[in-house]
Amino acid sequence: MKSLLPVMTVIGSIVLFWIVSVVPMNMHLTADLAQRQDIAVTPDTPVARQDYSGIGLALRNTHLFGMTYTLDRPRLPSPHQVAVEMWDTIFMKNVTSRRSLVYHGWVTLSATLLGFAIGTGLGILLAVGIVYNRAMDMSVMPWAIASQTIPILALAPMIIVMLGSIGIQGLFPKAVISAYLSFFPVVVGMVKGLRSPDAMQLDLLRTYYASSTQAFWKLRLPASVPYLFASLKIGISASLVGAIVAELPTGARAGFGARMLVGDQYGQPMVTWAALFAAAITAATLVGIFSLVERWTLRRMGMQAT
């Protein structure tokens, strides 16, 4: 609750900046529209208006400010237009309808969760391999790092097309891209976590003649839990980004990515913005859930969450 005020302050500033920006961003469109409705506009030809910036034009036509907030196809929709679109598509539509954001959200979320599960599992396995096997230590990490330097926008269509050509379509190819983005933070975090016990703690286990399996389950794995949670929170949001990116290049018909593309292509900025915000809220919720699980787990383990 202590963080509520700072968070609201930041959100408030962003919304304020947004509201102020709507006027200059939409001014040219508004002026054209106003002229068609016989409202006086300075200067009075579209060509002449091209010489002015949005701000310059706004200062000469202060009587048009109100109209900039109510355009049907604005360049930058105002907050309330996005809110109305979100309200309509989230709460007023049947969730099985193609016009419902909940339906599209679930399409993206299911790919996100599947990809996240694959990525996390793979990441943990790789980390264990890296910590226990010298050959893997030397070989896997550079490849893992290299894998993250390839732009996912370039890679995603290739993965979708290749998997499609061998008959795999739908959820799984998107999950693969989600997994591709989410395994990396898990590998890095888990390697660090599994290696976090110091020499003294490892020596202590040696004096008990503990096997390396026992050292793993009793020392290394529990010691890595705080690191794992930090990685999971990065991984889940990366997964969501992966699933959305996977929907963009392939003309997917459902999902947040598809909504953004549709809004863009058919000149419905409110649709794009609503999908964008819904995706951000979904990501924040997922991260929030992991934070709660983290706090609960670490408290049960006698450690304070940081």
Binding site: M200, Q201, Y208, P222, M303
Partner: protein, 260 residues
């Protein structure tokens, strides 16, 4: 006390290869420790006292010489779980309760659940921590954490207790108190104790035998059999015998330095 040899070192040498050339951590160390003795190793940093303790525990391998523990190699003794080791830091697992931490070696060594619970209770009583079983380490003071780590080392009935500056990080008052408790513990359990310290009063107060060491190369310069009685109240530290032994230790330390 029957002179039964527990630890026997002969011509022990250990050289570490470092980037700056070989470091002679131990040179020609000869020592016999009998069962039930309380032996302190004292000396400045780099004299090899910790290294020697680690050799006894099989955590370091000597480069030359022979070392037996209960007639076995240190490795075999480690396999037979012949000793409990207490480090300078308590090293308790933060995610386990105090009881859970003491249980750790018992789980690893495969004791039954009933036996684990019984042993945890017994050693916690022994170090005066009864009632703290369900607390987490961060809820305890440094001195209590160190007592918990001693309990952990005692839990599986090893007959040798190796302690590497266990009270080095604690303040003087807590340290005096723990020294007293450690002596009582030793009297009750009759374990053989190897104790590394760089405090002269601590070494003299606790030990039946004081091994004075000096650095570069790490070696033994004096072995003092303490004339003090086994029963030792804290004020024995003002007695003439105590001061005489402390004096001899100080001389030994100084002699080691002159040689360098």
């Amino acid at each position: 006390m029957a002179a039964e040899t527990t630890i026997h070192a002969q011509g022990l040498n250990l050289t570490f290869e470092t980037n700056d050339g070989p470091v002679h951590a131990l040179k020609d160390v000869n020592l016999e420790i009998n069962k039930g003795e309380f032996v302190s190793f004292i000396g400045p940093s780099g004299c090899g006292k910790t290294t020697f303790l680690r050799c006894i525990a099989g955590l370091e391998a000597p480069t030359a010489g022979s070392l037996t523990v209960n007639g076995m190699t240190p490795e075999e003794a480690r396999m037979a779980r012949a000793y409990g080791y207490v480090f300078q830091a308590a090293g308790l697992y933060p995610w386990r309760t105090i009881g859970g931490n003491i249980k750790l070696p018992l789980e690893i060594m495969g004791f039954s659940n009933a036996e684990q619970a019984e042993r945890v209770k017994r050693v916690m009583d022994l170090v005066d921590l009864a009632g703290f079983e369900k607390k987490f380490p961060w809820q305890l003071s440094g001195g209590m954490q160190q007592r918990a780590s001693i309990a952990r080392a005692l839990a599986f009935d090893a007959d040798i207790l190796l302690m590497d500056e266990p009270f080095g990080a604690l303040d003087e008052i807590v340290r005096d108190h723990l020294n007293e408790q450690l002596l009582q513990l030793w009297a009750r359990t009759e374990k053989t104790i190897g104790f590394v310290t760089h405090s002269i009063p601590e070494a003299v107060y606790l030990s039946t035998k004081i091994v004075v060491m000096s650095p570069r190369p790490g070696r033994i310069t004096d072995v003092i059999d303490s004339p003090l009685p086994k029963e030792r109240p804290l004020d024995i530290r003002d007695s003439a015998e105590f001061i005489a032994v402390a004096h001899r230790v100080r001389d030994g330390l100084r002699a080691g330095h002159v040689d360098v």
